[in-house]
């Protein structure tokens, strides 16, 4: 490729990961280009989530390196340091703060972005944090979640929890956003809304890696697609290249209509 290394936000080189006897990731090489949406597709159990887990410090690969902003994420970087470096992640099972209100769920990551991994000021009142309050309120309004933002997040439907988690990541304006099946379990209507939203942030130039089963979503969003099967990347290219790729059709897309 003609791209210099500088155009890559994230570079995964020779990453291997085994669970007991299972080779979950084998010699993964992947470059994520700045400002692009990179989709990872593949059958269940292919290792897609595992790959993202190695990028956020949840799992340490057995070998290989993952470079982000000049740093190797696999070299004893803590999850919070990785987030502070600029990577936010939407999990496959929504990870929110059920005991807090929807608004507070969005405020928390904004505090992390503004104040860093730790700040101590117990005498400052929450109501005085107008900047963050406004930012969170505006974002929730944009996402159509502004109404009832003071309600418990724990009572939200699964689809809405997913959307909330997306909001929690977006408010951090991450350099790299990792999305693990952001529309799974959503009704068609909500899926479409999420696609619209993701398209909107695509225009903002935020770099994204998205794992998605819904081919409709993948082909309408992705600039590049990598296909993962049994822990290995079997194909990579533009959406058009992938659509026509024989190996992909055989291994994954199969009878699926495109």
């Amino acid at each position: 490729m003609s791209n210099g290394d500088n155009d890559f936000v994230l570079s995964i080189r020779g990453v291997n990961k085994t669970f007991g006897g299972l080779q979950a990731l084998s010699d993964i090489n992947l470059n994520i280009e700045k400002g692009k949406v990179h989709a990872i597709i593949g059958p269940n159990g292919a290792g897609k989530s595992t790959l993202l887990n190695t990028c956020i410090g949840l799992l340490t690969p057995d070998s290989g390196s993952i470079t982000f902003g000049g740093k190797d994420l696999t070299k004893s970087m803590t999850p919070h340091a990785i987030n502070q470096a600029g990577i936010s992640r939407v999990f496959q099972t929504p990870q929110i703060f059920p005991e807090l209100s929807i608004l507070q769920n969005v405020m928390i990551p904004a505090f992390a972005k503004r104040d860093g991994a730790f700040s101590f000021n117990p005498l400052k009142a929450l109501r005085e944090e107008e900047g963050i309050l406004n930012e969170a309120t505006t974002l929730l309004d944009d996402l159509g979640m502004g109404e009832g933002a003071h309600h418990h997040a724990g009572n939200l439907s699964r689809g809405n929890k997913r959307r909330l988690e997306l909001a929690m990541c977006l408010i951090q304006h991450p350099k790299l956003l990792l999305l693990d099946e952001p529309t799974a379990g959503m009704a068609r209507h909500d899926t479409n809304r999420t696609i619209e939203l993701l398209k909107k942030i695509k225009e903002s130039g935020m770099t994204k890696v998205i794992i998605e089963h819904d081919m409709h979503v993948v082909f309408s969003l992705a600039d590049r697609i990598s296909v993962l099967a049994q822990g290995a990347i079997i194909a990579e290219g533009t959406p058009d290249e992938i659509k026509g790729h024989p190996k992909v059709r055989e291994a994954y897309l199969g009878s699926a209509e495109i």
Partner: protein
Amino acid sequence: MHQIITPSSRGKDLSILLIFIAVVLTAPLWGSLIGAGYPDLLQKFAIFGLFAIGYNLLFGLTGYLSFGHAAFLGVGSYVTVWSFKLLSMNVIPAVMFAVVFSGIFALVIGFLSLRRSGIYFSILTLAFAQMSYNLAYSVLTPITNGETGLRVLRDDPRVIDNALGVTLEGSPLGDLFGITLTGYAGFYFCAAMLILGFWLSLKIFRSPFGMKLVAIKSNQTRMEYTGFNPRPYLLSAFVISGMYAGLAGSLMAITDPLAGAERMQWTASGEVVLMTILGGLGTLFGPILGAATIKYFENIFSAINLQVLENTFAFMPEWLGGIMVTITRPFVGEGWHLTLGVLFMLIIIFMPGGLIEGFRRLSRLFGGKKAASETPAAESEGGVK
């Protein structure tokens, strides 16, 4: 469900604080209505209230259950008596040293215990507290005076007092610039500390810091992948609650200048857990309510002896009275903890949210309007639309 941390409005917080101050300062009045109108008991309410308010900032907000907070209570007491012995009977340096030392002690124990979470954290705190208790009881006798307990003596150096020409008259008691802190003076000093402690707790409940502590309790993993390092937050909460415990221990030694190792026993650590849960874990008023309730009933039940029981049932035929005395005997006097156990079980089974939840249900039952103002929606008025 009730929201713990709310932005609230400044006016609302001010009225909460003012009502609290009014209730505390008029304690001798309402106390006498329920048979608690004397300083010894009222100052117990205040001291254990402080202990529980501080403990709640750790357990209630972060969910980290410490079984060792009595250790800080003990440190606060010992440091206070030493301040009396070495420096002055003035309580101001005594309280300040007690809070600082218990804070340092909490920093060390918290740093080590917080390497683990869940049950392992609880066991570590318990182990450290029992270690402290045993050290105080035996090895550290030169500092703690072991079994006998540390007390103020007539020929102690008291360098500041001596330099100022203040001499000890009568029995050694805490002193606030000439005011001897016994009786109601002692209570009002404790009350002032309680108000200060409550104010700080209210501040923390309304702060982003408090919200982050609840977020750690709610989903610590999410916190980490959101860019927060939970460890220093937990350690801060641990140290703050340790300082509250140290302050409570200091007040115990001020109102009764004696410090014994039994103050560090695991039963004392357990008591503050009970108080907090009984009153309402993670709520603003619950812990102090729980503390006062337990101390109030302890006062009643532990004072009942065989004689009192026999008199109570004297109106019955002798055989029936005898049976009644036999049945009730284990629940009173030394056996009051049995009553506490039953009380605790009943409340937790029927009101898992503690006494505060009970009050909330009552107010919903009797005043529809009042209840409406308790919903989370209304709670977040002010900062949020």
